[in-house]
Structures are given as structure tokens and as C-alpha cells.
């Protein structure tokens, strides 16, 4: 194709597409990955995240009890061989509940990442930065309106108004189609929480990508690509996107920590994924927000809080650490 040959004649050092085969093996991403793996903190953070996400995804296989099995003969027990982290006030196994709660958080963070940040944020950012004009203006203005709500208020508002509506619609659909168990499986909850967390993730990402694209547009490699008549999709996805991947990865890493925190916040308030599905926020609520009852639990069995809290903290802390390291790796100048 004509474009290929022209690019060979005028190789651009910033466009990742322009490189030949041997240059590609030293792609910026390979080098960035190498630098990342040499950072001890980053490796440690990734290891912890890997373990936490693994435990969450394979909750079925790593739990020791049914997380909802109530055993009134064994309430408020300390850690033992049978119950690794003890039991809560209803005799449920805390370790199994933490693992299943993690699964909820894991699913929500992944939904949030893919829908909010990656698909919506990146696509809108690329388009707004590239086309500018009315599209850019309207997306930015809309984002500003959304951003002018306090995050939590918006999340609560959406979770509260949408949930009954979506559940009713799904029930109607169940009745109509004869498929059972969509509501009881909790899939609807995940959907609602995913939507509620959208405003949190998309706008920051979109603004970042847009800004990057705006400055990239003025670069010579974009101009030359335009000059040789590269099609718009190719322009956006193979010239612009690879050049903003670094900041996108950094932001996504920080964003995942924030989404995990918000999921737990929502389930703490009782607006997240509903019981019987265990969630970390609900476990904390169970011990802390029950007035006098919770004071006695706190006083006599503070260890019940320890497990969910440690997991939440590790999750957010490691995403932040990883984000910091990624930032050093991808943007070495802005320390």
C-alpha cells in the first residue's frame, strides 16, 4: 500500500506505527514494562493485587464455607482451624465472606474500568480531541455538569433512582420471557452499581485523553499522516491512541482504586450489591453502623473488622502504589 512505503521513506520517531520490525521489538511499551518490573514496589503491589484479584475471581474454589451459612452455635468465634478468620455475629465464616466480598469488588472494578474509563472515557476523549468543534464543546459541558455534583451524591442518586426501575423492568422481562432468576442472581445489582459508578470514571479519563490528543494534533507525525491521507479511524486508533496509552494506563490504575473504594462505600450504605451476596462494605457496616450493638462488637471482637478492612486498604493502597510507579515509568519527566 502506498501509505506503507511513504512511511518507510519518512519514518517518524514518535509514531509507533512508523517503526520497522526490529525497532518494534524495542517498543516504548516493552521498555516501560522492563522499567516497571525493575521497581520493587511495583512488583510487590502487582503481586498483592494479583493475589487479591485471583482470590476474588476464584472465590468458589478458595472459600472454606458457604459465606451465607448461618451457624448460631458458633457465633463471634475467634480464628480457629475450622474458621480461619473466625465467625461473625451470625456464625458465618469471615474468611469465606471476605473472599466472596472480594469477588463483588473485583467484578465491579472490572466493569467500571471497561465501561467507564476505557470505552466511554477514552473514545469520547479521542473523538473530542480530534474533531474538536461542537462535539468537543458539548461533551465537555455535559461533563462539567456531571462533575459539579459531589461524586457521592451523584452515585447515591443514580443508584437510588435507577435500581427500582431496572429491577422492575427485569422482572417484567422475566415474566415475559419465562427466564427465571435474573434478579435473584444479582446480575441486575452489578448493572446498577456499574452505572452508578460511571460518572466517577469517565470524565477524568475523557478530559485527560482529550488534552493529550489536542497537543498531539500539533505534532509533525500527525500532520504527515494527514498529508498522506490516512483514514480517520486509522488516524485515531493507530496513530493517536498508542501515544496516549501511557497516561491512560496510569489514570486507570488510580481509577481502579477509586472505583473499588466507591463500590465498598455504596455497599456500606446498603445501596450496592444486595445481600445475600456478601460485600466488603456490608461486612463493615455490620460491625460499625449498628449503634450500641456495634460498640459491643467493636469492644469484644475488633478482629471481625480487621479482615475486610485490611483487604480494602491493601486493594486501594496497591492500586495507588502501582499508579505511582506507572507514572514514573511512563512520564519520567513529571516526578
Amino acid at each position: 500500500m502506498a501509505t506503507e512505503t511513504l512511511q518507510d521513506v519518512f519514518p517518524s520517531d514518535t509514531g509507533p506505527d512508523a517503526g520497522r520490525e526490529e525497532e518494534r521489538s524495542h517498543s516504548p511499551f516493552r521498555r516501560a514494562l522492563g522499567r516497571l518490573l525493575r521497581k520493587k514496589i511495583a512488583v510487590a503491589a502487582m503481586t498483592v493485587l494479583f493475589i487479591l484479584y485471583g482470590a476474588g475471581i476464584f472465590a468458589q474454589f478458595v472459600d472454606t464455607h458457604d459465606p451465607n451459612k448461618i451457624d448460631l452455635r458458633a457465633t463471634q468465634e475467634g480464628p480457629s482451624w475450622d474458621h480461619w478468620l473466625g465467625t461473625d455475629r451470625a456464625g458465618r465464616d469471615i474468611y469465606s465472606r471476605v473472599v466472596w466480598g472480594l469477588q463483588t469488588t473485583v467484578i465491579i472494578t472490572l466493569i467500571g474500568l471497561v465501561t467507564g474509563s476505557l470505552v466511554l472515557g477514552v473514545t469520547l476523549g479521542l473523538l473530542a480531541g480530534y474533531y474538536r468543534g461542537w462535539f468537543d464543546v458539548s461533551v465537555m459541558r455535559f461533563g462539567e455538569v456531571v462533575a459539579s455534583f459531589p461524586d457521592v451524591l451523584l452515585i447515591i442518586l443514580i443508584a437510588a433512582t435507577l435500581r427500582p426501575r431496572i429491577i422492575n423492568t427485569t422482572r417484567d422481562f422475566e415474566d415475559w420471557s419465562g427466564i427465571d432468576g435474573i434478579v435473584s442472581s444479582g446480575a441486575v445489582d452489578f448493572f446498577v452499581v456499574g452505572i452508578a459508578l460511571l460518572p466517577l470514571s469517565w470524565f477524568g479519563m475523557m478530559r485527560l485523553v482529550r488534552g493529550q490528543v489536542l497537543s498531539l494534533r500539533a505534532m509533525p507525525f500527525v500532520e504527515s499522516a494527514q498529508a498522506i491521507g490516512v483514514s480517520t479511524p486509522r488516524m485515531i486508533f493507530s496513530h493517536l491512541l498508542p501515544n496516549v496509552l501511557g497516561p491512560i494506563i496510569v489514570t486507570a490504575s488510580f481509577g481502579l482504586g477509586a472505583v473499588a473504594g466507591s463500590e465498598i462505600f455504596l455497599s456500606f450504605l446498603g445501596l450496592g450489591v444486595q445481600p445475600p451476596r456478601p460485600s466488603l462494605g456490608f461486612m463493615i457496616n455490620d460491625v460499625t453502623a449498628r449503634g450500641a450493638a456495634s460498640v459491643s462488637v467493636l469492644q469484644n471482637h475488633p478482629e471481625q473488622l480487621l479482615a475486610p478492612i485490611a483487604v480494602i486498604w491493601a486493594l486501594i493502597f496497591c492500586w495507588n502504589l502501582l499508579g505511582d510507579s506507572l507514572n514514573d515509568v511512563f512520564n519520567p519527566r513529571t516526578r
Binding site: D151, V152, L153, L157, R165, F268, V287, A289
Partner: protein, 309 residues
């Protein structure tokens, strides 16, 4: 500068209209028929119709929107669905006042501790103090408030018995200390990091070297030349951090049993008391928009070098 202020001032009402429209629509299409909730067991078709007519619910949406906003501007957010005959403003007012005082205390703590701490860390760069403070803020940043609240209760209220566990007794009461500190904690981390970074930035500036070169004492240099300039970027994040702290404040109120908006808001959500929810959203968003406006303008006033396009 003037042009910027004027543009900002003109954009704010537009933003507020958009926000209120958004809230109104969510409330409008939210679940639950207000008339059905209000009548409860006495529900009949004709009564419902009469009540709808009486409350003007049959009017077109734009008419109702303008009526709602018009009333809201006068501080009237309609009546609660659940607490019959009581106005939302009357129900929310006292609770908002409690929450606002608590929030202010938390905010003051985060700025009052975070800013000096960041400055301190930056001026001790190269010693063990700086990395220690940085490490602590990193750990704090990852801690959601629902980790702090129980931890502080356990330590100071239950084990040491220094402070009361929960409750509310106004601004000048020992019971405000624990919740306010809890709200302020994440803010402290943010402020410290921001202040440290901007102080380090200023310390490397030529005018600091000039100030030292002309023989000013280190104290004067730091106070007059470093601290003042370093505070400017910190101002910009005040708006963000207010928004960020709101969620924490809600949780803190729930855990410490403070009679603020949090419990009431949650109950309204579960009982689908939409006038209350929309009023809260409207008030919250307005407060945030105004706070950001003030910060923005303040920013330009404090630092005359800044010219907005």
C-alpha cells in the same frame, strides 16, 4: 482578570440550571408515585386525581420545573412524601446545619494540619523526616474513612476512654473531636502532599535565592517568600477536596451516630421520599459549584501573575 471573573460568574448560573434540570428529571422519572405514597392506604382513583390536580402534578413538565425551581430559590422544596405535611426545608434545615458544622470542623483540621505538615516535610528534604511523612500520607490516602472511624473509636473511646464514643453536642463539645478528625484524615494526606510538592517547587525558584542573597533571615524567607507562594496551588485543590470529603462525612455521621443529613438521606432513599433526595442533590451541587467559583476567583485574586484566557 476582570473578563475571566465575569465569564465565570456568567457560566455559573448556566451550570446551576443544568444541574437543577438533571436533578429534576431524575426525581421526575424516579420510581414511586408521590400521590400513591401520600395517600397510602386511603388510595382511591378519584382521591388520587383530586390530589394530583391540587398539587399541580397534571401540569406540563416545564411548568412544574419552573415552579419547583422558583420555590427552591425561596427555600421551599415542597413537602416530604413520608413525613406528611412537613416541609422538606423544615426537616432538612436543622440536620444540614449539624452536618455543615461537623464538615467545617473536619475541613479545618485537614487544612490546619495538612498544610503546615507539607511545608515542614518540604523544608526537611534530604533528612529522614521527609520520606517518613510522605510514606505516612501514602498510607493514609488509601484508607477510606470507614477504616479510620472504627479504629479511632476503638483506640480513643473504648481502650483509652479519653473521648466519648458517639453522639452530638454542637460545635464546642468534645464529642465533635473524633468524627471531625476522621473526616479530616484523608484531607490531611492530600493537603500535605500538595503543599510539599508546591513548597519544593518554590524553594527552587530564583526569587528565593535572591531573598537569601540579600541577607534575609531564613525564617523571613520561608514565611514571606516560600510559604506565601507555595499556598497558591494548594488553593486550587480546596474545591476538589471539599467534594472528596463529602462522602467520608456521610459515613462518619453514620458510624458516630450524628444527627446530620446522612441517616435522613439514606432513609429517604429507602422510603423513596423523592422531594428530600432531590433537595439534597440540589443543595449539594449548588454548594460545590459556588465553592469552586469562590476558589477560582480567589486564586486569581491571590496570584496576580495568573491570567485566564
Amino acid at each position: 482578570m476582570l473578563a475571566y471573573t465575569v465569564r465565570r460568574l456568567l457560566w455559573t448560573p448556566v451550570l446551576l440550571v443544568a444541574v437543577s434540570l438533571f436533578v429534576f428529571v431524575l426525581g421526575e422519572y424516579g420510581p414511586g408515585d408521590p400521590v400513591e405514597v401520600a395517600l397510602g392506604q386511603n388510595y382511591t382513583e378519584e382521591r388520587a386525581e383530586r390530589l394530583r390536580e391540587q398539587r399541580g402534578l397534571n401540569d406540563p413538565v416545564p411548568v412544574r420545573y419552573f415552579r419547583y425551581i422558583g420555590n427552591a430559590l425561596k427555600g421551599d422544596f415542597g413537602d416530604s412524601f413520608v413525613f406528611r405535611g412537613r416541609s422538606v426545608a423544615g426537616l432538612l434545615g436543622p440536620k444540614l446545619w449539624v452536618s455543615a458544622r461537623l464538615f467545617f470542623a473536619g475541613f479545618a483540621i485537614s487544612v490546619g494540619i495538612g498544610v503546615p505538615l507539607g511545608f515542614f516535610a518540604a523544608t526537611r528534604q534530604g533528612t529522614w523526616v521527609d520520606p517518613t511523612i510522605v510514606a505516612i500520607t501514602l498510607v493514609l490516602l488509601a484508607m477510606p474513612v470507614f477504616i479510620f472511624a472504627p479504629a479511632l473509636i476503638l483506640l480513643f473511646a473504648l481502650n483509652l476512654s479519653w473521648l466519648p464514643v458517639s453522639g452530638w453536642g454542637g460545635f464546642w463539645d468534645t464529642r465533635i473531636i473524633l468524627p471531625a478528625v476522621t473526616i479530616g484524615m484523608p484531607g490531611i494526606a492530600v493537603m500535605t502532599r500538595m503543599m510539599r510538592a508546591s513548597t519544593l517547587d518554590v524553594l527552587g525558584q530564583d526569587y528565593v535565592r535572591t531573598a537569601r542573597a540579600k541577607g534575609l533571615g531564613e525564617f523571613t524567607v520561608r514565611r514571606r517568600h516560600v510559604a506565601r507562594n507555595a499556598l497558591i496551588p494548594v488553593l486550587t485543590i480546596l474545591g476538589f477536596s471539599i467534594a472528596g470529603m463529602l462522602g467520608g462525612a456521610l459515613i462518619v455521621e453514620l458510624i458516630y451516630g450524628i444527627p446530620g443529613v446522612a441517616r435522613f438521606a439514606l432513609d429517604s432513599i429507602f422510603s423513596r421520599d423523592f422531594p428530600v433526595i432531590t433537595a439534597l442533590a440540589l443543595i449539594g451541587a449548588t454548594a460545590l459549584v459556588v465553592a469552586n467559583l469562590v476558589v477560582d476567583i480567589l486564586y486569581a485574586v491571590v496570584d496576580p501573575r495568573i491570567t485566564y484566557r
